[in-house]
């Protein structure tokens, strides 16, 4: 047991039941209160969630998350985000070991409460709540400059392109994918309306990282976890990530061929995203930049080049999927999102 977890167990006012679940390069140790009747035990959220990370990669991810939670502390009273309860980094026989303990949050991942009637019977409450949550987060976090001083989107785009090219040099097998998108982003950056600034973004805002107390009625029924990707991005970035990953699999696949069509095919979701872009002050060209910047970031993330660990199998799967997505986009000459697709 990591010494920090041991401290948490010893400091608990009542017995704690510990659960261990595997994580990439580490483990999740979760503490639950033992007392109460069966119903209380079934419904009570974890007392705290401990994450241990081994090796340089696991520790780097946890360090990023600890820093992010530290930055978010000022928001803890206004938005349901976990609070950092402890952080320690040490070394065991030459191997780096890190441990982070954060407060437990109520709810289950939003995917379990999947939005039914996707795209046909109006927007699901979950999506609206997520949108509201993001809007509020961006406003509060931007006021506190959580992701540092504001920067231009074009600057972010240049950084992302440079990074993709660097990664392409290091990973020859991924180079065709990484180098395919960079020119599109650079081109979109050159044509974007001036003045669009970055906002703080979660970085991995998808259904599994959003805990919802069902039924989701408002943003107060949701809490967001896994903040290791906190940084600066476009106002659309998190929402696009959420939309791309929110899967009510079968229904959506029947209606649309691939997930990326969601951003181009007419429907309420596309209208919602377009309204979002307009509310953020993005014109069509800036929205295009935001969209392709999102794609490039997502590509790097899913290929396992970011903080997230990916197994060889997952990488191969991501490679195959993204090859298809990029081919689909290239075939349509990288269309503008939120606008009717050219026939």
């Amino acid at each position: 047991m990591h010494e920090l977890i041991l401290e948490m167990v010893q400091m608990a006012p009542a017995p704690v039941a510990l659960s261990r679940l595997p994580l990439d390069d580490g483990a999740l140790v979760v503490g639950f209160a033992v007392g109460g009747d069966r119903r209380q035990r079934a419904q009570a959220p974890p007392l705290w969630v401990g994450k241990t990370g081994y090796g340089s990669r696991g520790c780097r991810r946890l360090r990023a998350e600890a820093q992010a939670l530290g930055q978010l502390e000022g928001l803890a009273g206004t938005l349901p985000v976990p609070r950092l309860l402890g952080w320690r980094e040490s070394e065991v026989r030459g191997e780096a070991v890190a441990c982070l303990v954060q407060s437990g949050m109520a709810g289950t991942p939003m995917e379990g409460a999947g939005p039914r009637g996707w795209g046909s019977r109006g927007l699901p409450a979950a999506l609206l709540a997520a949108g509201d949550w993001l809007r509020r987060f961006q406003r509060l976090a931007d006021a506190q400059r959580l992701a540092g001083p504001r920067r231009g989107l074009t600057e972010l785009a240049a950084e992302a392109c440079a990074r993709a090219e660097n990664e392409a040099e290091g990973h020859a097998e991924l180079a065709p994918l990484l180098t395919a998108l960079s020119p599109v982003v650079a081109h979109a950056a050159a044509r974007a309306e001036p003045g669009a600034a970055s906002v703080p973004m979660h970085g991995d805002f998808w259904a599994e990282n959003i805990l919802a107390v069902r039924p989701v009625r408002s943003l107060h029924d949701m809490s967001v976890i896994d903040w290791s990707g906190l940084g600066a991005g476009s106002a659309l970035d998190d929402l696009l990530t959420f939309t791309a990953n929110l899967s009510d699999g079968a229904a959506r696949r029947e209606r649309l061929g691939r997930w990326q069509e969601l951003f181009f095919a007419p429907g309420r979701v596309r209208d919602y995203l377009r309204d979002w872009a307009a509310a953020a002050g993005y014109g069509d060209r800036t929205a295009r930049l935001a969209f392709y910047l999102f794609l490039l970031r997502r590509l790097v993330w899913e290929l396992g080049l970011g903080l997230q660990t990916r197994s060889a199998g997952e990488r191969a799967q991501a490679r195959a999927e993204w090859s298809e997505v990029l081919a689909w986009l290239a075939q349509r000459r990288y269309p503008d999102p939120f606008l009717p697709m050219p026939s």
Binding site: V9, M11, P22, A27, F32, R38, R41, A42, S103
Partner: protein
């Protein structure tokens, strides 16, 4: 007419509580007024204090907390100013208080908004509190608290700071104290998530004081004489922990054998010779050989095992596994996650662990990265393998002892934890002297005796009626469904089967039990169940361990379930009662019951040899 909605017992209880508190507060305030201003002032006094404690994760930050709050130690000059405040009220601190306390403050925009005096060591609280008690652990107490939102916002930060910057010996608990009449303070504490753990009444008549206390833990009123010292554990948060006791430091620096003459022999040197002249064994190739080796037993034939050993000596144990060991077994041998369960064992780094039946040493080697480990293995080839593996991995804290847990006269009470991973079901296969259950009980008894006071046993084993067993998984006999059969039928089936697992067919002796059966077994040998987990991937892959707790089970299942039907089924089956009955693999955490421990301690203290030691003699 519409029936009036029943507000429910919760509402009624809440109302009663509110009323009781209101009356109590009002009554006390009136009493204070009389005592402070009346003719009895100075001669008669009554004070009621609430001892308030909070776990760090329950602290709630008020939404109005401003940014830019800084917490640090209060410097000498600032501290003097704080003391001046007190002096201005005509209530100076005693000299003892000055020496024994440390002050930590919270600043907001250069203004001191809150501060906490914290105890440095055992002493009496200042007389200004109207009571005196003995402090046996470092503690912090809240000096003053207002309902100002800035102060409220600062308090959790103060406690967090104290936790991260303990004074010397380590601050572990936080106890706030407030006088009962300060209702704003009490309300403020509650708004932050604190709870009242105890109440202390102090009454003064002339020069004499009487204290009465009632704590959540004790649950009854306790009288304390005027000069009595009231122990902090009565109130402290930590006294209600899971029952783990402090680690025994008397177990000695090295692993020891118990000689028949009553003396103990260390396993440190090359030969293990008692001062009485008796030689118990010697170290050969990194293995402490004590007694005769067991007959070969293993997943691969003996000749193959020897080839693997030779290859490991020539090259590296990983190379040998990769080249010569069958694929499934190779994964099992080399899996670094074999000891992942240690993340749930509250063990300090200096703990000494005994791995009974260490096999290929997967668990022992993984544990030896964090703790001192003794791998006990009866089969000579396997013991050699573990020693070789430890040497090649540079595991200085791994010791290998070749022997059987019963036959090896390990001194009692010297291990902080004992690992019995998939062992209990096999012990009766080698020992035919008694019925399987009796052999298993004897084995558990032996493990309990080897535990240091407060130590624990990690025991992993299958459920007799687990879902895997119903699904046709092979039982230890090598046959399907034998665990589900009545024992007598299972014995009959095994005795006549050609597919029996061992080359010597002794019938059905690899008993497993249901959850209740294990509980009975543990109870009979004086072991107390401290925790139970289900290992959904099997106990040999303890990456995922879920306690028998509905909340935890559902938490572990919250991801996945692609269809709605599956999700509903998971939700419906995700209950501790269901998992307890049909969970396939159990992981138990056991501690010796107080009586049982005492017996073991008595044996150790008397220097009497254990049962097996006598046999050796």
């Amino acid at each position: 007419m519409r029936a009036r909605k029943d507000p429910g017992p919760g509402w009624l209880a809440g109302w009663r509580e509110k009323r009781r508190q209101g009356v109590g507060t009002l009554g006390y305030r009136l009493l204070r007024r009389v005592l402070d201003r009346g003719p009895l002032a100075g001669r008669v006094d009554v004070r009621i204090h609430q001892v308030i404690a909070v776990a760090p994760w329950r602290l709630r930050l008020p939404p109005r907390l401003a940014r830019g709050l800084r917490v640090r130690e209060v410097e000498a000059e600032e501290e003097a100013a704080l003391r001046g405040l007190r002096a201005a009220l005509g209530m100076e601190y005693g000299e003892r208080f000055r020496q024994a306390h440390r002050c930590v403050g919270a600043w907001l925009e250069q203004r001191l908004v809150a501060f906490v005096w914290m105890r440095r060591g055992p002493a009496h609280l200042p007389a200004s509190f109207g009571c005196a008690w003995q402090l046996t652990a470092p503690m912090a107490w809240l000096y003053d608290l207002y309902s100002d939102p800035e102060v409220l916002g600062a308090i959790p930060h103060l406690y967090a700071y104290l936790r991260q910057h303990p004074p010397g010996e380590g601050l572990q608990e936080y106890v706030g104290q407030t006088d009962y009449d300060n209702w704003r303070s009490r309300r403020a504490h509650r708004s932050l998530g604190y709870e009242v753990r105890a109440t202390l009444w102090s009454g003064q008549w002339g020069q004499r004081w009487v204290h009465v206390s009632r704590s959540q833990q004790a649950g009854r009123w306790r009288w304390h004489g005027g000069k009595a010292l009231i122990p902090l554990p009565l109130f402290a948060v930590g006294s209600e922990r899971q029952g783990w006791r402090p680690w025994a430091s008397e177990r000695g620096p090295e692993v020891r054998l118990q000689c028949a003459c009553g003396r103990q022999v260390g396993l440190g040197g090359e030969r293990f010779v008692c001062t009485c002249g008796r030689e118990w064994g010697r170290r050969e190739a990194g293995v402490a050989r004590v007694g005769a080796a067991m007959p070969y037993w293993g997943e691969i034939p003996q000749a193959e095992m020897q080839r693997v050993l030779a290859r490991a000596r020539a090259a590296d144990w990983r190379t040998a596994v990769r080249e010569l060991v069958p694929e499934g077994l190779a994964e099992y041998v080399g899996d670094p996650q074999r000891a992942a369960f240690h993340e749930l064992l509250p063990l300090p780094a200096e703990a000494r662990i005994l791995d009974v039946g260490a096999g290929w040493g997967g668990i022992a080697a993984a544990l030896a990265r964090h703790y001192e480990v003794v791998a006990l293995e009866g089969v000579a080839e396997r013991a050699q393998w573990i020693a070789l593996r430890g040497e090649q991995e540079g595991l200085e804290r791994l010791r290998v002892v070749q022997g059987d847990v019963h036959q090896t006269p390990l001194a009692l009470g010297q291990f902080d934890a004992i690992i019995a991973n998939g062992i209990l079901e096999w012990v009766a296969l080698m020992d035919h002297s008694a019925a399987p259950t009796a052999v298993q009980l004897s084995f558990l008894q032996r493990l309990r005796d080897l535990l240091a006071p407060g130590g624990m046993i990690y025991l992993a084993i299958e459920n007799r009626f687990g879902w895997a067993e119903f699904g046709g998984a092979l039982d230890h006999s090598g046959l399907r469904y034998t665990s589900l059969l009545p024992r007598m039928v299972a014995r009959w089936v095994c005795a006549r089967s050609r597919r029996y697992r061992a080359h010597f067919n002794v019938g059905y002796r690899t008993y497993t039990y249901s959850f209740g059966g294990y509980q009975d077994l543990f109870r009979q040998v004086g072991l107390e169940l401290r925790g139970c987990w289900i290992s959904p991937l099997g106990y040999n892959r303890p990456e995922k361990l879920v306690p028998l707790h509905t909340g935890a089970i559902r938490f572990s299942q919250r991801r996945g379930g692609r269809t709605r039907l599956r999700r509903v089924a998971r939700w419906a089956l995700g209950r501790e009662g269901v998992w307890r009955r049909i969970g396939s693999d159990y992981v138990f955490l056991l501690q010796a019951e107080a009586g049982g421990e005492r017996a073991a301690e008595t044996r150790v203290a008397a220097g009497a040899p254990g049962e097996q030691g006598s046999e050796h003699a």
